[in-house]
């Protein structure tokens, strides 16, 4: 959180995250370059430039696969949340690795004729009507353009200026980019490769991404259990101290009902920063803390503590027969909603 924009909000965790990421990338590329030549088909030796473009291309594919696994992994198991914390830097580095792959391709396959390399790239193969021999390069270009847009709009300013729904919609294009990358690899490299190891690795990566998304999808709450003005949540003691119970609401939104000691309050489950799941976070020093990037909101009014200005909607709560009930209609962001006192519950 910051009350004024700065280029990058570095801290020790981000340095560590980025350091590990860069070291892992460099190690992968070095190992690929070292082992790639012997692993290639010996009857058709591979040039150094081709080896380098494959090293960066496959690295970008695996990085993109990991990025897409982080979201569902964090939903399935809280221990993966630290991976999510700096995922945007992961995305920017992936875009740069993919760009390096593209530069190697342009400077090798399209650099030795009088035709402009970009024109040659787009015009050399226009057989869009067939599957085998499909111009898979175009799929790579589409994916690279999407990754470039996502990387270029990853700063918090864009999130605030475009608004979370639009920013999030824009960044959902990562799924399209991944589909294009998979098709790019499937119709390109995998059509020619004589080495089954990479076909297996690509397949396993895509299956891991698919399987984890399916598992997270199955775990997500489906529909609201009630209607009308109030719906039942749980008995106060059923909510762990400092944690929340997430409820799908009749209007399609989600509410998070938190317990902080003897206080119980309810906020929108969507963080105002990046729509992170507030209900999967904790109450720290009286503030609900988003598990994704640590944005905080007061339980009593959904406002971030000064000097920060973020707000989320609150929900009114009441107790009926020892059960917490939540109003189905949210209050405007930042509206005070007095938390229930658990001690009250014993007397109702």
């Amino acid at each position: 959180m910051s009350d004024r924009y700065i280029p990058v909000q570095w801290n020790a965790n981000k340095w560590l995250y980025d350091g590990v990421l860069l070291i892992a990338c460099a190690a992968y590329i070095l190992v690929f370059l070292r082992l790639g030549a012997p692993a290639a088909d010996l009857t058709r030796p591979v040039d150094g430039a081709i080896l380098r473009m494959r090293a960066f291309g496959s690295c970008a594919f695996f990085m993109l696969s990991v990025i897409l696994c982080i979201g569902p992994l964090a939903r399935l198991d809280r221990r993966f949340l630290p991976l999510l914390y700096n995922r945007r830097h992961f995305g920017v580095i992936t875009a740069l690795v993919a760009l390096t792959h593209a530069v190697y391709v342009l400077n090798w396959y399209y650099a030795f004729s009088p035709t402009d390399p970009m024109v040659a790239l787009l015009g050399a193969n226009t057989s869009y009507g067939q599957i085998l021999g499909f111009p898979f390069e175009t799929l790579g270009i589409v994916a690279l353009l999407i990754l470039a847009v996502l990387a270029a709009t990853s700063h918090d300013f864009w999130l605030s200026f475009l608004g979370p729904p639009l920013w999030k919609a824009l960044h959902l294009l990562i799924y399209l980019a991944y589909g294009c990358v998979v098709a790019h690899v499937a119709l390109g490299y995998l059509q020619d490769s004589k080495n089954p190891a990479f076909a297996l690795l690509f397949g396993l990566s895509a299956l891991a991404v698919a399987g984890l998304h399916l598992a997270a999808w199955a775990k997500a709450p489906r529909k609201s259990r009630g209607s009308g003005e109030w719906i039942a949540v749980a008995a106060p003691h059923e909510i762990a101290d400092g944690r929340a119970k997430i409820l799908p609401m009749p209007d399609g939104k989600r509410a998070a009902v938190f317990r902080d000691g003897d206080r119980i309050g309810a906020l929108s489950n969507a963080c105002a920063h990046q729509n992170g799941p507030l209900g999967e976070g904790r109450v720290i020093d009286g503030c609900v803390t988003c598990p994704w990037h640590g944005f905080q909101y007061r339980l009593e009014d959904g406002c971030s503590p000064p000097p920060f200005t973020e707000k989320v909607p609150t929900y009114n709560l009441r107790l009926r027969d020892g059960v917490i009930e939540i109003a189905t209609k949210p209050n405007a962001p930042g509206t005070p909603a007095t938390p229930l006192q658990i001690a009250e519950a014993a007397h109702v």
Partner: protein, 127 residues
């Protein structure tokens, strides 16, 4: 090749317009639409690539904020509905594409004899 040249010219035109929009927005407009950006200059060069790439969105949002049409409730709409739809791409389409492409390989599991493709006609070669 003509189509490729035309596409590239359109792309270059788009980026040039983007550069102009980005320069005006980052030098002047950003202070009008974002309180946290006022007086903060060092981070602006970092926004340049984004502003160039998505300049139509920048203009649209800028106009909305200037006219006071920005919806205060918009940030709290649930984001997950579309995400589920998009995740279908990775759940179903990606494995299907990979498996399909491997099956279609000329020396793959469904081995088929190699086909000699016809040489392109004179006219087609320059398209």
């Amino acid at each position: 090749m003509e189509t490729a040249e035309r596409l590239l010219a359109i792309g270059q035109g788009y980026l040039w317009i983007g550069l102009v929009v980005a320069a005006v927005f980052l030098a002047w407009g950003i202070d009008r639409v974002e309180a946290k950006a006022q007086g903060a200059w060092i981070f602006r060069p970092l926004l340049l690539p984004g502003a160039v790439l998505i300049w139509p969105l920048v203009l649209w949002r800028w106009l909305r904020v200037e006219r006071g049409n920005a919806c205060p409730q918009a940030p709290y709409r649930p984001p997950l509905t579309a995400q589920r739809l998009f995740s279908m791409i990775v759940i179903f389409a990606c494995p299907a594409i990979l498996m399909g492409a491997l099956l279609l390989r000329q020396d793959g599991p469904l081995e088929r004899p190699a086909v000699q493709l016809a040489a392109p006609q004179e006219g087609q070669a320059h398209e």
